[in-house]
């Protein structure tokens, strides 16, 4: 542990280092943004552009190691302020942050570099894979000078991932956070500043309301790569503002669901499957694109879908004690209450609907519906369980979200995974993972089916004369 981490371990007051540290009343101006970008670029040239991948990976892994320590001041601050500022309970935050930082090992980062770039030193020097060597060629990749991230902010992991990838790309980065959501990106940036201030000087963060034209124009004008997460309309509007020469990477609205095979619905497996399903519903309070809206349960197992739903309800009830959902805004409560009202009425009139939910709160809700059509959940731990004859019926039922699906979490026997995966790939899913891991994508996850790191970079090919 570097000495700098030993400083101020008990009380860390975040200094005004990033724009996002300024008091909420502070007004940002276009010229402040332009100046910040120019100074980021200068710092990058001086402190980041020529750094080795080895060194950057070392810094990232030390950083991750610190965040995983219980006495890390930044982790403590995240767990202290996160529940009020972000709406996740301490336990939910702990699980989410641990899952994220555990991914940041040297081995996994190297695996990402090799998988996407074909050579571990591709970012450092001209290098050749075996095939390239045979063909007398080499290549190097270069990151953008200034990368802008427009972060969504419902959960922090995507923003943190963007920053890690940006560091690997040796880019200066400006992260624009949605109002009220910058806490974790800020803490992450401050933690980097503690450990390696020069690298942190290549990062800037600010909060403002999306669509603030004057600030965004100034920001985009300085950038040569913009990544954005948002609704189709948000992305379209950002895309228009990005200068012609800059690369734009938009990650649109995606949904996810789960499929449970009848073959895992018995005895010992059943408990485990239920527990994993509950983990996916509770992780980040189901607020991410990777969280399941619907769990499809295949006919023919010892437990039918309705029984599965009842067991899942029991498990969610138990999780509420160990990992509470936490408070939600009034509009969310209203949304859940209104939906419960509808299913309560339907359940009273037909066995084709059944409802289980927390008493005296909106903390969790399970709706069983015989109608297999995909249904968007109102999230915050509100999940549908629907019976299907087989995977094919599940996919037909989810046809309305066919081109909008990110992850399908599956609980199927090992020997059928290849076949199930192939069917899901043909259908159009971009990620198939074990149930229980839906909200824990690996670092090398290809977001929306695109390479995470490689998409950010520019290749230069070098051909040797024979």
């Amino acid at each position: 542990m570097p000495d700098c981490w030993r400083r101020n371990l008990t009380t860390v007051n975040l200094p005004n280092y990033f724009l996002a540290d300024l008091p909420p009343a502070a007004t940002l101006s276009a010229s402040m943004i332009t100046e910040a970008c120019q100074s980021l670029k200068r710092n990058r040239q001086q402190y980041l552009a020529t750094r080795t991948t080895y060194n950057i990976v070392q810094v990232i892994t030390v950083l991750a190691g610190e965040w995983l320590r219980e006495d890390s001041p930044f982790r403590r601050m995240a767990l202290k302020h996160g529940p009020t500022q972000l709406g996740f309970s301490r336990e939910t935050l702990t699980r989410g942050l641990d899952a994220f930082f555990r991914e940041l090992t040297a081995q996994r980062i190297e695996a990402l570099v090799v998988a996407e770039l074909g050579h571990r030193q591709r970012l450092d020097a001209f290098s050749s894979s075996d095939h390239e060597g045979q063909q007398m060629r080499a290549a190097i990749v270069t990151g953008p000078e200034l990368m802008v991230h427009v972060a969504a902010g419902n959960l922090p992991n995507p923003a943190l991932t963007s920053m890690v990838l940006g560091l690997l790309a040796r880019s200066a980065q400006f992260m624009k956070c949605a109002t009220g959501t910058s806490l974790l990106p800020r803490l992450f940036a401050h933690s980097l500043r503690e450990i390696e201030p020069k690298m942190a000087s290549c990062l800037e963060l600010a909060e403002w309301r999306g669509g603030t034209a004057q600030l965004e124009e100034a920001l985009f004008a300085e950038s040569d790569c913009v990544t954005a997460t948002g609704s189709d309309e948000t992305l379209a509007s950002i895309r228009q503002k990005v200068p012609a020469g800059a690369r734009f990477l938009g990650y649109g609205h995606r949904v996810s669901f789960a499929f449970v095979s009848s073959q895992v619905l018995s005895g010992f497996y059943l408990d485990r499957v239920i527990s994993r399903a509950a983990s996916d519903v509770t992780a980040w309070n189901q607020l991410g694109c990777l969280s399941p809206h619907v769990i499809y349960v295949e006919h023919g197992g010892d437990a039918d879908a309705k029984y599965f739903a009842a067991l899942l309800a029991d498990e969610l009830k138990a999780r509420e004690h160990t990992e509470p959902r936490g408070a939600v805004p009034e509009a969310v409560s209203v949304g859940i209450t209104s939906r419960r009202g509808i299913y309560d009425i339907r359940a009273a009139h037909s066995p084709e609907t059944q409802l289980w939910h927390s008493e005296g709160s909106t903390a969790w809700t399970v709706v069983y519906e015989a109608d297999a059509r995909f249904q968007l959940s109102c999230l915050n731990r509100f999940v549908y369980v629907k019976p299907v004859r087989n995977l094919e019926e599940a996919l037909q039922s989810a046809d309305s979200v066919r081109n909008k699906t990110s992850t399908v979490g599956v609980a199927v026997p090992e020997h059928t995974l290849g076949e199930v995966g192939a069917a899901l790939a043909r259908w159009g899913a971009t990620r198939v993972c074990p149930l229980g891991k839906m909200q824990e994508p690996p670092l090398s996850w290809r977001h929306d089916g695109r390479p995470a790191l490689a998409d950010l970079l520019r290749w230069t090919d070098l051909e040797f004369s024979g």
């Binding site: 902010g153 609205h253 694109c289 009034e330 209104s338 009273a348 005296g360």
Partner: protein, 367 residues
Amino acid sequence: MIAELTSFAERLRQNISSGVSVEFNSIALELFELQYRFNIAYRRICDARGLNPTRVEEWSRIPAVPTAAFKELELTCLSSEQRTAEFHSSGTTGQQPSRHFHCAESLSLYEASLWPWFENHLLPERAGGCPPHPRLIALTPPPAAAPHSSLVHMFETIRRQPGVQLEFLGRVDGDGGWGLDLESAIEGLQSAAAKNQPVVLMGTAFNFVHLLDGLTERNLSFSLPSGSRVMETGGYKGRSRELSKPELHHVISERLGILGARIVCEYGMSELSSQAYDGAVGSTHNSELQTRTFQFPSWCRVKIISPETGREVAEGAVGLIHLFDLANVFSVMAVQTEDLGVRRSDGFEMLGRAVATEPRGCSLMAS
């Protein structure tokens, strides 16, 4: 017809018409028992919640059904042959509307319920025995064009009262939406101004926007005779541009010369048979400086329920509005609305339709 319900309705109608206050709890429990017996869809809901007349001893525990249930179920004690009218909610185009079925007896009770409370708030001089003779103008279509609108039926009921002069100036457009006969409206306002005859303008918020935008386009404004007033209700339903309430009232004052204290807001819905008002015309409570609270008549009670806990909220806190309307005899008296309100000691403050969060994944939140 179910004799017990008819007799209940008749008793209540007489009480309301004669101004006799009702002993709410016992009458509510009596009605609950009848509705549990005769409204099959409602009984199923109560049974599913484990509640029935033997287990409910207080009106506030009577199971409330969400207004959405009026869309999916036939929440009525009336058989199909007994239904002579039905009121629909005015939702967004393409949505299935709520349906509230009526028969002659229930309409008669609806009419008896709406008139005295309207008169108290919009024509208080008349209620006090000193009848003014204002000209009432409804900006809605007439009943023949909008047979399923409870609001239009309400205006028609008012029109039929002795000594009331009311005309309808709205129309139903080709797409089924409500428009306004602007020329007639302008003519009506001009003639009232010329004759110095006070006007009572009544309609939905979007009716008023249609009128006010029309006046603005023609660069017209009126200073309507003193004693003129406005009754404004409901939302916009995408039928016009939307204004906040203070903005709407400001434009009304600007274009029609009717000040805030003479603008009365009404809160009603097709699923109910009673209405609430946020003050009487010209009353001191109606000043713009104060928070205006809505009040229902004595035969309708309100509870403000926390959407998170399902329990009644404290004074000053926000929740979903639950209503217990004794005049809903042949349907369901206990209704859970989708409107948010603030509990106030003398009524409730309206915050408007709760925007139920649209389902969304991570990326819809980037703003």
